[in-house]
Symmetry: C2
Subunit: 258 residues, 2 copies
């Protein structure tokens, strides 16, 4: 199995509320058609989730009743994005079906307390492609919390041990310095825990309630234990995702455990 | 708790593929604002589900691989309708969140094998209004099957024993003859099993993969055992749903068990 994350920064304009990049998603859907194994897909919430979630402190859990309207609204919005992604995949011959996080997992304190692989397994068995996403979820201790797409990636990887895990992002991979500020920044082709610890930390300019690239790589290190290969590729460069999922060499950062 | 079914024949044009009647739904959402207890809502699939499901025999379960594209497409379509309903409810101050059937239940042979009330209970506890819907679902013996909105209505009623269950349909209730063919047909204000057995059976003109009004009333008889009052009201007549959920007398058929 190949597990692919379509980053919120690739399929949405993260700075503009609820802006789905349908043509980018269509191109990526076509590239996914080159996969040489069954697919599972997770997408981020991008500007359908993070902006409003941050504004109303949804990542902090229940603090005031006035948040509840926004819990409902953000859940609706991320499902609108999910429908866009499903339509794009289906129109490109991938039999995609939605598996919202809360239909596969129970949450406590912002982490998964219990995961039901069957929610995905039933779809695989039928020959369908499950598509999960970042969402606001009921949380046993916080009332509600944010389940990031990356959290779902880890749960799926742990349960199904995919051959390949691809994080499709808006960067070529991880650099040894911030490439936006340092022209000499070099892409790191292979990254492990000790190399990560030595990297300079920077924060993203746009709203994100689920952590920086640093947090993402830490999650990838955990995922790398459950798969043969775990990599970041740039989804904005045509062809790279297609190369990755068909097993060809491609510009990327491969994250290795240990 | 009050459990309301928004019939597919009320919120969609059942004869025209994927036609959401947003203004009807908005009016009903406003009427639901008069409810004097927490709400749970289920809606039918209407023309977002039945037409394509019937065309590709999805109600018969897996028979050929070519159905799988349509399983994905119909699931996507009913979620599009669900998003429309959620938007309508949220815009009318109901904090509505989606609970797809497969996130609360497991299915075998077209019936529910296991139901997890928590999927709804967690939403109630937060002060949110769960909204479920008719859907194509994974099925342990058939591959996939249709879970009708009415099947979800029964499962929710069984688990939560609502005070009131309202089926919002495109008719005033059940008649002693077909009112479209017999001008002397009389509305039956109260219907039980023996009265139902004596009624003439007619079939609906539009596609429906989940049974006729006769089947619906049989389901309502089962539901009536789990609630104080179970009724059909006409959702096309302004004000009736609002009267029903606020506890006022209204033109309807009340279905009583036994």
């Amino acid at each position: 199995m190949i597990l692919v994350k379509l980053g919120g920064s690739v399929i949405t304009d993260k700075a503009k509320l609820r802006t789905f990049k349908r043509s980018s998603c269509d191109r990526l859907a076509k590239e996914l058609g080159r996969a040489n194994a069954p697919l599972a897909i997770v997408h981020g919430a991008g500007s359908f989730g993070h902006i409003e979630a941050k504004k109303h402190n949804l990542h902090k859990g229940f603090t005031t009743k006035s948040q509840l309207h926004h819990v409902a609204a953000v859940q609706r919005d991320v499902r609108e994005l999910n429908l866009g992604v499903l339509a794009s995949l289906i129109d490109n011959h991938i039999r995609a079906v939605a598996v919202p996080p809360a239909s596969a997992a129970k949450f406590r304190s912002g982490v998964i307390r219990q995961f039901d692989p069957d929610a995905f397994g039933r779809m695989f068995d039928l020959g369908l492609t499950p598509v999960s996403f970042g969402d606001v979820v009921p949380d046993e201790s916080m009332g509600f919390s944010i389940c990031s797409g990356d959290l779902m990636m880890e749960a799926i990887a742990k349960a199904f041990h995919p051959r390949l895990v691809v994080f499709c992002a808006d960067v070529d991979g991880v650099y040894d310095a911030d490439p936006k500020r340092n022209r000499k920044a070099q892409l790191i082709p292979e990254l492990d825990k000790s190399r990560l610890a030595g990297l300079e930390r920077t924060e993203s300019a746009n709203a994100d309630v689920t952590g920086s690239i640093y947090g993402k790589v830490e999650r990838m290190l955990a995922i790398a234990k459950h798969c043969e290969k775990c990599m970041i590729v740039n989804g904005n460069v045509p062809g790279r995702l297609g190369k990755a999922v068909s097993g060809l060499d491609v510009v990327s950062t491969v994250v290795v455990p240990g």
